[in-house]
Point group: C2
Chain length 565, copies 2
Amino acid sequence: MTDLERLIAQGRGEAPADLVLRGGQVLDLVTGAMIAGDVAISGDRIAGIGESYEGREVIDVTGATLVPGFIDTHLHIESSLVTPYEFDRCVTPLGVTTAICDPHEIANVIGTEGIRWFQQASRHTLMDIRVQLSSCVPSTHMETAGARIEAADLAALMDHPSAIGLAEMMNYPGVIHRDPGVMAKLALFAGRHIDGHCPQLSGRDLNAYVAAGIRTEHEATTAGEAREKLARGLRILIREGSVSKDLAALQPVLTEVTAPYMCLCTDDRNPLDIGEEGHLDHMIRSLIARGSPPLAVYRAASLSGAEAFGLKDRGQIAPGKRADIVVLDDLVECRARLVLCAGRVADAAAFAARPAIPPVGRSSVRAPRVTAADFRVRANRGRADVIGIIEGKIITEHLHEEIAIEDGDQRPDPARDLIRITVIERHGRNGNIANGFVRGFGLAAGAIASTVCHDHHNIAVVGVSYEDMALAANRLGEIEGGFVVVRDGQILAELALPIAGLMSLSPFETVRADLERLRDAARSLGVRLKEPFLQLAFLALPVIPALKITDRGMVDVSRFEIIPG
Amino acid sequence: MTDLERLIAQGRGEAPADLVLRGGQVLDLVTGAMIAGDVAISGDRIAGIGESYEGREVIDVTGATLVPGFIDTHLHIESSLVTPYEFDRCVTPLGVTTAICDPHEIANVIGTEGIRWFQQASRHTLMDIRVQLSSCVPSTHMETAGARIEAADLAALMDHPSAIGLAEMMNYPGVIHRDPGVMAKLALFAGRHIDGHCPQLSGRDLNAYVAAGIRTEHEATTAGEAREKLARGLRILIREGSVSKDLAALQPVLTEVTAPYMCLCTDDRNPLDIGEEGHLDHMIRSLIARGSPPLAVYRAASLSGAEAFGLKDRGQIAPGKRADIVVLDDLVECRARLVLCAGRVADAAAFAARPAIPPVGRSSVRAPRVTAADFRVRANRGRADVIGIIEGKIITEHLHEEIAIEDGDQRPDPARDLIRITVIERHGRNGNIANGFVRGFGLAAGAIASTVCHDHHNIAVVGVSYEDMALAANRLGEIEGGFVVVRDGQILAELALPIAGLMSLSPFETVRADLERLRDAARSLGVRLKEPFLQLAFLALPVIPALKITDRGMVDVSRFEIIPG
């Protein structure tokens, strides 16, 4: 008997179902009705609902409401700082049963080997990890990445079972100006899903970008931007990451009219936030608390994501769909009592049963050793471009400040919150070092450094003391990348991320504890930002306006060019 | 410059668009907003909306509202009695720009050659004809069809550009009881679209049917049935054909909440109704008149159909989508002023420019010549099974009547509206002849006969006079199939359908005029039914409850078996 024949037979009740969830009610996301009755499961599929079923195994879910497993429609698992396995163990119990990830971070360090590693992991995780193919490695011509991925490289990866299509096409200037390499990738994925990324694009430029075949987008930060993008044919993914928090601004757009065309995503979310607030469950709670109808919110959390990405096998608790089910005591509170992934209960035993896969990207930090002198700016005019941080956003302001030239250098001035920011190439390619200014950290002493530095993941250092900056940067080479906080020649806290300088080898609980120590250490330096490391990581991302810095210099994103030194 | 590069450049306004629609407003089906501005078209795609554009050609649509082209999500083009080209010329100007057809009728007569003919026609029609692959040829084991199509035959057709998936799986007993041939077809199309057909199926049987991977269904005839099917994971196609009219019953289900998951279809609609009432435009008008919100109705007419069938390139007037556009003076009236199919204006010149393709299925009527004696019933008990017609439905009642045996025969009794119905095998296979009784025609004299006889398309004859029945049946052989009305040895009216006995070689206008003459002739015999030929055609369809007749005898559909003679 084939799986399909077993499924049909169990759906009819001719044979006991493999598993029955008894005593709950199903929130049907299509009609909005509450459906009483058993949920019968056969293998990885739902065999029947709304009826009585016998089961070889029965789980009592009396009083609970069952909803389809949540779909994170766009994220970089690397931003959780743990392996895909640890991400799975951390987030699946919160109700996330599908994660549409883009291994863009690891791909920028070690290329297609990193993508293949995610594809390999996706075969064993409890949640269904769908691996989008990174479209922009490097993300621009204004940075030195560890790898370069062209259309031909993607062609070899695009038919993996985990693949959906092309991941966020963040080189939006390359699209609208028809860069040949971008055109080749768009052509390769014609007819497949192409995910977007076009912050603040509007009008005819937005038309041109969407016309290229792009279907989904997660960079809208205002209600007006979201509405324009929806009306131009993009499905909008509401993002609530650790830095980029768009939920409050976009919540008014999410209504019963628009919900079928809006989804949820986290993009970049760190394990501290996951631990303290939650993941998509936190978004669901927040949206409902702000007044969105629960039906609209749960649609956005699953059914609409499934539809937007063509995943026709999920998004509704209905026969034939994947048995991805979240058992809730309460729709408003959204605390998962039990989570099933493709019919398997997500518990410790199931996580323990996943076959191990070896790490990749070891010893990837190959930066030059630096000294205090490397952090001088060699300025010849007093007016300086300054990156202005906007807390909770990855967009920045482009500020200009007069800064005195002393000894041929423009020194940090913590009294005015003007501190040094430096990016050091660390892929062993050219040893570039670029210096600039940033405002918004509130750093009064010492330095903090990181190899998590979107999207090229070079070393980013901010500091007041050049000596401490040098110590912090050099320490990253010794621990294979990660985060370091230094003051007065002492390492106050650190977290090693030996997988490509991006992910820990440790359990997520350990990483959380280390991050708490790092956060406390950063605060002891005067840092006021809630997420200093993530905020730092995005200061080097030149596809997000307005002013950024890479290993090649300060980048005026609106002009898409390096500011001459 | 590639098409994509031209599209992007025109979307940006760097170059004049190929065509601009100026002065109208777009109804955005995602947000519900009305969007002022030009619609720019580049080749077959929309390049931009909501902005000003220059065009090499400009069409003034001042004051009009633009909506996406309508999608008929399930129909048999054969039921229009004209070729796909004539259907295109007849229906596209009404706003239908996509027709998801199932060439099930021609396939039952000439097999895969008929499907290939539709695939060939789809390459040239203005509307986009998507050819689903017929799943049930023959539809059951209780009839003699002209062909048999197995999974292996479909495998050779499934990758044609016009293909979406498997057409309506009407053998629902074969699904839930796991018939090997049905299982092979379901396995072949696993992961692709599988369309459904399961009238009145409910409860665990419905669960089992949907669990088999079936996604869409058009046989719901009550609001309760539609709601149950929606909640079980089926997308519901509201049908309004010439016989099966479900719009009134299902309209209350179509709300802004459900519209993203409901579609429109005509299934079987004849050219008289298309001429007198319209096509999907008629459904749109009727739904709005009955109180459904226009946004919900227009979604169901296009966007939701596109989503249900995975046609991600249409359903919204937005950049990158197919330029399938209906220009309306008024959303409530829904009278198309102008229709564009993939950027081409649907006008006489465009229809004339389609390259001719030769007809198929000539000389397909190979029935035995019959005489009056062939219409006797050879009964041995007085109680007879009688098909009870329900006007406007393809389901029938299973009646029982006492009918006197005279001379070893049970003769028609027009006074009680009990008339003879006979099916004659006409594919040259076995010459089967089956006789029975039907109530509901109101026939007082003569006979009417047809080779349009779902799904096997044998000859169906109803009559009071055996001599007239024989004349009518034999005449069908002479004209290569069609419709005939006879009285007192005279042919009162006829329409030849030489393509497989199903479709005319004439323009749709001629066919309409012939049908009017046939309708008048049938009325002169006392027939009260609005659509006697279509109603007759479905009396032989044993996949629809309750009592039907095929060349093998009367069929008790609830038992799925032939009633012993």
